[in-house]
Symmetry: C2
Subunit: 379 residues, 2 copies
């Protein structure tokens, strides 16, 4: 972006919440921690805060870098920073690691305060609604009564949508990028293959692999390889890798041969090193369960009736995981409720991953929308 | 089909080939067996034979049932039989288990005659070209100089196409259903995830699991679950399974919850019981390697120049694994060579699996085409 700069060094913070936290599943946490980051300055009216919700493997570390680690750039650093579409010169931006995560917030790899042992498989399943309620606690802690906007892509988009239903009075705008009103059977199928890869890995030990000093690396690796295929479009993969071989000719062996194999193996290996398997299971289940219209007999328009926010909905032409058609469903249901909706369908070859990538039209749409929001809160 | 009947009881046969068989990889088999079935009667001119090539997990058992086992119906029984599109009252139909298979033909689970031990990982990789050459040996054995047609779907379609290149004078027609001129990077990616699932299964033992009296069941199961998702269209899955739960409400556990999960687990379990993991690896590698245009700098029109057959090319609208666009590439390259091509794009919600399913328009197209072929050979 023109005149945009990096945020520079940022520092994560931690907040501890005491007292029972009821989950949708029926389980209850007696206490929990959330790790979060903030960028920019909260204005005197406390009206310029934007909450960024992360997707499957994201974290609270949205933008900037950590002291002494120049490679630690946040996952949405192209989108968030001074002069960027989410302009930290004008907005106070909050990123948070979700409950059940593995980047500092309480999750399966945390110690259960009741027993001192790691939760492991005993950590309860959480839902998008649970995350939104936990994020609302963080907002209370930050003394933010109302977010100017809640935004996210993919699973993060689901959280933005859920915010408009759970706390209609606590956000001005919901920015729903590359989202869907629920997962299709195909989406659930891919998640299930990933979960089965993890669960059937002999190193999973029913989720208690921590006690055995191993991780279900094989399973995590497969889950991530599969995920990556579904994040990219067929065209993007052909463009990037084609049928190129690493060597001059086929090796007729099971060693890596095609560029695409090399890429997927690398992504899988990297992910297995950094991500917790139990968290992966929890995240995919939260995706599967999300379905606001489940309680309205499938009628999304009735399900979205509580919403009061204004909406920006964005989809990408080659996203086959959460296709534009799924965004259309959301847009239609919002319009059925006479809500103000802007919708942009972005031309992109990048598939679902497009929501993380710099794209002039996409960034202009988000930037222009938030410019309007900034003027609102500065008025 | 109207007036169509089942073939009734059929019996597999076996043929042993002695003498070196050179493979594309550079490896050589000193001898091998093929298991095959035939239906119908070869006419006096030996001109009415149709070869059916199987796909990834298919076999020589194309149609009919085995004595005493009413559940043993062949995999293309709806297509092949008396009065069916491939009419066994008029054609002599040959089905063959490919080299490297696990249904009787020589493959990784066969004993290596040189050592008496099972081949296991020592079985060489085979290609579509190798299969076609082995099938030509079978044709020699059956004293069939020229097939009226060679046909297949998916990986079978690739064999039909390869026949027209390797033995242009030995077939009248090639019927190429739900095929592609090569795999896309996405296709290879899915295959690679499936292979890694098998290879990293601790029960794989580098391909020598036979010696350990185990099978890499976890890996095979994952491979098949993933395969099934890609064989079906998103729409077909929504139609068939939707977001239906087995129970009344979410269980918030890793037990099976959604209908689609149940279906995939069942398919995975069934497959792991019946299919050999080494064969699965060989078949997916053959798919990855197939690429007639690799030797013509990507120019498919030049690559298909040797073909002399007439072609029927069929694709299915919701097939996203081998989409109609891939069939268009084949059709265009054939037309560039002034060959006679019929092309049908069948409206179907069934995805890639559509090639195995009864569909009035599809069956009419194949039936009418073969009616013409029958008249040719009977003339």
């Amino acid at each position: 972006m023109k005149n945009s700069r990096s945020l520079g060094t940022v520092t994560p913070q931690r907040v501890h919440f005491d007292g029972p936290f009821q989950l949708i599943s029926g389980a209850r946490l007696e206490q929990f921690d959330l790790v979060y980051e903030t960028y920019g300055r909260l204005n005197a009216a406390r009206s310029n805060a934007i909450l960024i919700c992360h997707a499957l493997s994201g974290t609270h570390h949205v933008a900037g870098t950590y002291q002494g680690d120049p490679h630690s750039t946040g996952w949405w650093d192209n989108m968030v920073g001074p002069g960027k579409p989410v302009d930290t010169d004008r907005f106070f931006v909050v990123g948070v690691n979700n409950l059940g995560g593995c980047n500092g917030s309480t999750g399966p790899s945390s110690a259960d305060p009741a027993t001192g042992r790691l939760f492991g498989a005993r950590f309860p399943f959480v839902t998008v609604e649970d995350w939104v309620h936990a994020q609302a606690r963080l907002a209370d802690h930050l003394n933010i009564q109302r977010f100017a906007a809640v935004m996210g892509g993919s699973l993060g988009a689901m959280q933005a949508l859920q915010w408009s239903l759970s706390y209609p009075a606590r956000l001005g705008h919901a920015i729903v990028i590359a989202g869907a009103p629920n997962l299709s059977a195909q989406n659930i199928g891919f998640n299930e293959v990933a979960r089965q890869a993890i669960i059937t890995d002999p190193d999973f030990y029913g989720g208690d692999y921590y006690a055995h000093a191993v991780i279900p690396e094989r399973g995590l690796r497969l889950a991530r390889m599969l995920g990556h295929i579904t994040y990219l479009s067929d065209d993007a993969m052909m463009e990037k890798f084609g049928r190129e071989l690493l060597a001059d000719k086929p090796r007729f062996s099971l060693e890596v041969e095609f560029e695409i194999e090399s890429y997927l193996r690398y992504q899988g290996d990297k992910f297995a090193e950094r991500f917790d398997a139990n968290t992966y299971l929890i995240m995919t289940k939260a995706l599967d369960y999300f379905d606001p219209a489940a309680s309205t007999e499938g009628n999304l328009s009735i399900a979205l009736a509580p919403a009061k926010a204004q909406f920006l909905v964005v989809s990408f032409t080659t996203d086959w995981r959460f296709s534009p058609a799924r965004s259309h469903e959301i847009v239609k249901a919002l319009l059925d409720n006479s809500l103000t909706v802007s919708y942009a369908e972005i031309e992109s070859t990048q598939g679902h991953d497009a929501f993380l990538m710099e794209n002039e039209y996409y960034f202009s749409v988000v930037g222009a929308y938030l410019e309007r929001v900034a003027r609102e809160v500065e008025a």
